[in-house]
Structures are given as C-alpha cells and as structure tokens.
Subunit: 184 residues, 2 copies
C-alpha cells in the first residue's frame, strides 16, 4: 500500500474544469497549482496514458495540420473516481524547505551566509507577491463561475502565507545581524 500517487487526481481534477492537452496540463500546474504542487512531463504523459486505459479520460486527436496534438477529456468514470478521492480525508501534506534546513544548521557556517539564504528566499517571495495580490482581487470579483471561489481561496492562502514569510524574513535577518554586531 504505497504512498498513493496523486498525479492521477491532479490530472482528473484539472480535466474536470476543462479539456486539455498534456502540455496545457503542465502549464496549469506551473501557474495555478504552483503554490502547492508541481509535476514534470515525465509523469504527466505516462499518467495520461494509464488514465485512458482505465477509461477515466478520452483522447481526441485534434491534429491541426499534421502536428500531433491530443486533447484529453474526463469521462463519467473519471469524475466518479475523482469524487471518490475528494471525499476521502487528506492523508498528508508535505513540505521540504531547504531554506529552513540551511538555517537550522546555520551555526556551522555563520550569520552572513545564512542572511544571504534568507534574502534569496525573500526576493523570490517579493517577486511573486504582487501577482498573488492581483489574482486574489480579480478572483474575488469574478464570482459568476463556481470554480473561481475555490481558486480564489487557494490564491488567498498563498497571499497570506507569502506575506507571513516576508514578515518572518525581516525578523530573522534582524535577529542574525544583531548577533553579528554583538560579536564585533
């Protein structure tokens, strides 16, 4: 009973919103799910194939011109399977913050380097925050479509967490630079 792979559910979930190609699925993951999920082509395409064999999606070869391009659509069976998973309680949320690992062991390398790691972390956050804030505002207004509310709540989650990251970065940098001063 292995860790129950979730790629199946991610793809079915995205296809429950709209029919997509493998390439578009990757883009959705890299934009809309970016805050809490990631995946590579090497797991997307094989999963699409297995989902088709299980009749949870259908593949339609809409090759415009001679170029290969397949649009995947969720089936009723696929929707049932997705709902079944959605009903089950969450098994586990997982995090691997390399940044915090380097911080935890920071004593071995010193404050200057550690502050730099925190700064890099903060830079990435500041880069994404404006987009996140705009997304939340935009999604709050667009409440005609029902999926928007769910999307908005994940964006809000991201916004709130990122703002907290930022506050923490300031405190952590401050704390470490004080230590440097006391040493001198």
């Amino acid at each position: 009973m292995a860790n129950e792979k979730k790629m199946d559910q991610v793809i079915l979930g995205l296809l429950s919103h709209e029919s997509l190609t493998g390439y578009e699925i990757k883009k959705r993951i890299d934009t809309r799910l970016k805050l809490f999920w990631s995946a590579s082509y090497g797991s997307i395409y094989p999963t699409l194939n297995s989902l088709e064999k299980e009749k949870k999606v259908t593949k339609s070869g809409a090759s415009k011109g001679g170029r290969e391009k397949y649009i995947y659509t969720i089936t009723e069976q696929g929707r049932d399977s997705l709902r079944e998973w959605l009903e089950k309680p969450v098994v586990k949320d997982e995090f691997r913050y390399e940044t915090l690992l380097k911080l935890f062991f920071g004593n071995e390398i010193g404050e200057e380097v550690t502050i730099e790691h925190i700064q890099n972390f903060q830079d990435k956050i500041q880069e994404q925050l404006p987009f996140l804030r705009a997304s939340v505002e935009q999604l709050k207004e667009a409440d005609e479509e029902k999926t928007h509310q769910y999307y908005m709540l994940t964006a809000l989650f991201g916004k709130m967490i990122y703002e907290t990251y930022e506050q923490w970065c300031e405190i952590a940098k401050q704390s470490l630079s004080e230590t440097i001063c006391n040493e001198k």
Copy 2:
C-alpha cells in the same frame, strides 16, 4: 545530475550539533525538523553507512551490554562537506499540500466536504500551536548556546506560519458556508 539528495546533509547537520545513533537521528527529525523535513529509517541507516564509507562520519560501537548500538560522530571531512553545501544557494523549497489540492478541485464535491477537509487541517494546527509557542518562548531565553538562535528562528517560522494557517482556515470556512446559505 539528479535532484541532489539532502539526506546526507541533514544527517551531517544533526551530527554537527552532537553525536547520535541512527535511532536518535530519526527522533530529532521527527521533532526539531518536523516543520520542514521528514525521513524514514529506510533512508537514514543506508545513508549513515555510505557517509561512513566516505569518511564523513565515524561509527563507534558503544554496545552497552550485548545490545547493538552505534554512535555516529562527524569528522573534519564531514564538517567540510556540510559547510560546502551550506554555502551553496538553496536550490528549491518544495511543498505538496494535498489539502489545497482537494480545495482547488472542491467544486466537484461541494462545500460541505471541502469545509471538513479545512477543519481537519485546522485541528492539526491547533493541536501543535501551543507547543510551538512554548518552544519559541523557551528558545528565546536560552541564548547561551549559539545553535539555539537558529533553532529558535525555525520555530518562530513555524509559529508564524501556523498562526496564518489558522486565520486562513477561519476565512475559508466562512466563505464556503456563506455559499451554502446563498444556495438554499
């Protein structure tokens, strides 16, 4: 050039604080690093063996009685290797929030079930928050030891993030239950 396994660095980092057995390493990960890292025996013991072969740690069989028990100690070479890694910029922080995945696709299953997922998430957070808050306070005072400051900052990170999680949970539950009311 694969994803650069970090188990090596985690173990070296923990051993840079104090000599430990494999079993104790697991405990440290499950308590002090819990907020941002995890690992199983199946990866700890093999890593310890390979680190010994690379002369980054030494193994001393302190078998009290006839019971097998090995205490691992970091070598200078191990410390160099750890520092080398600590100096390099962070490659990637990774998250996999199954909870947010179920939320994002929540439209397919409805508000009630989704609220339950959020509630479960919140319950876990509320369970851990008191301990986190106490840790931060305790670590703030104990500033004799230098490693404590780094430990404290990770605990503070956890505390701040968990408090934000909680606030978000309240907002999200509210938002979804309003939708239920409007439907009726």
